[in-house]
Subunit: 239 residues, 2 copies
């Protein structure tokens, strides 16, 4: 009766718990997910284990299996918990709305960097996650784009934001492993720079400090994508 995927659908979409008999649950799905996100925020997704989550809740790990079928589902509800509500987006034209949308998304990813690792591969999305897609699609109302084109445009924007967030992590406050890697990459480029002239030139001329550079990269890509969309939309309107 407890199908594999159906279980996850119920956890993300289904109604809340409606038990009748038996002791009252001491935990809630939301509390478990919140604890998991707390650990992931502080120490990364790798630090999230059933043990850690359970002992932070004062229970044994096996009790968690009364609420979740397994770890994969824990990550799924953690994602849905960590994702903010999609921002209201009723102001301005499609360009302004998509810009605000992208900024909101990158903000979410910066707050929870582990979302990048947790959301690779095909997976079932929750209400809030789908809400983000819905908002972006609604911004493209009245642009003359087809459904497929709107979808492709949203995917394009999402990919860009993800890419920026991925870079942001590398340039973050540097919890030392990142800094070491950055330093090693610098050494490599110094030693083998001759084999990568364009790369060496580009990095040399782009000595931008941490967060500022990421913001610039975000705006750059955003402007390019939106410019490209504008070309298409303008062409559609003419015909």
């Amino acid at each position: 009766m407890t199908d594999d995927p159906t279980d996850l659908v119920r956890l993300l979409w289904g109604p809340g718990p409606q038990p009748r008999r038996g002791p009252k649950p001491a935990l809630t799905l939301d509390g478990i997910a919140r604890t998991g996100t707390g650990i992931a925020d502080a120490e990364g997704l790798g630090a999230v284990s059933m043990q850690r989550v359970a002992e932070q809740l004062g229970k044994t790990k096996m009790s968690l299996y009364r609420y979740l079928p397994g770890k994969a589902e824990l990550i799924a509800v953690m994602v849905e918990t960590a994702v903010d509500d999609a921002p209201e987006g009723g102001e301005g034209d499609w360009r302004a709305r998509l810009t605000a949308w992208s900024h909101g998304l990158v903000e979410t990813l910066r707050r929870h960097p582990w979302l990048l690792e947790a959301t690779v591969g095909p997976r079932l999305m929750g209400p809030k996650e789908l809400g983000w897609m819905e908002r972006a699609l609604s911004a493209l109302d009245g642009t003359g784009l087809t459904g497929a084109e709107r979808m492709d445009a949203v995917v394009l924007l999402t990919s860009h934001v993800r890419g920026i967030a991925l870079q942001s992590r590398a340039a973050a406050p540097s919890s030392t492993p990142e800094a070491q890697i950055l330093a090693a990459l610098g050494t490599v480029l110094r030693d083998h720079g001759a084999d990568y002239p364009h790369l060496a030139a580009a990095t040399a001329s782009s000595v931008r400090s941490g967060t500022q550079g990421q913001d610039q990269a975000l705006e750059f890509g955003l402007d390019r994508i939106l410019d490209g969309l504008e070309v298409l939309i303008a062409g559609r309107a003419r015909s």
Copy 2:
């Protein structure tokens, strides 16, 4: 003497093994990496363990540690092994060259889907991986863009290709877990479609069959990005 990051630098960049005393090594770093990629190609990155790799080579798992400091380094050399050589890119204008480059990159990611998971987070890149960046940057020679802008443009393209590859995996031959998820998502959209009108409309009008849809999505985003770059480059040339 064996620094943590220095070790990985030597594995990816340094000279080959130059031992003197002792028995000749029965394995090679390349052979190990190749075995790992084989497993990852067939059964996913999760199926790659020291045990699996070692027993497929007819050795014990501990012998691998004579060649690699740990699993993280194994994944790193696997990535460098799986990545194809960056394609020669001397033909056509910057637009044609970047188009070919993107197609090549998406092809690589389709051949080795696990590269998506293996390349999240900041990490040290190998010669071939840097070669891809170098090629893309060289395509932007003479466009009047600054170093930082060229870098941002390449990152933008890479993010798009990654996003497409991520989608491609969901629409792949469907090794059943993906198909189940797709079906579950369809069910969810049918049940809650009213809350996501734009999403429902967009998916309904975009019933494209598997691979074809991914190709279209790739081209769509590519055209948008390149159009956007063209706007910028044209503006630069005028001033």
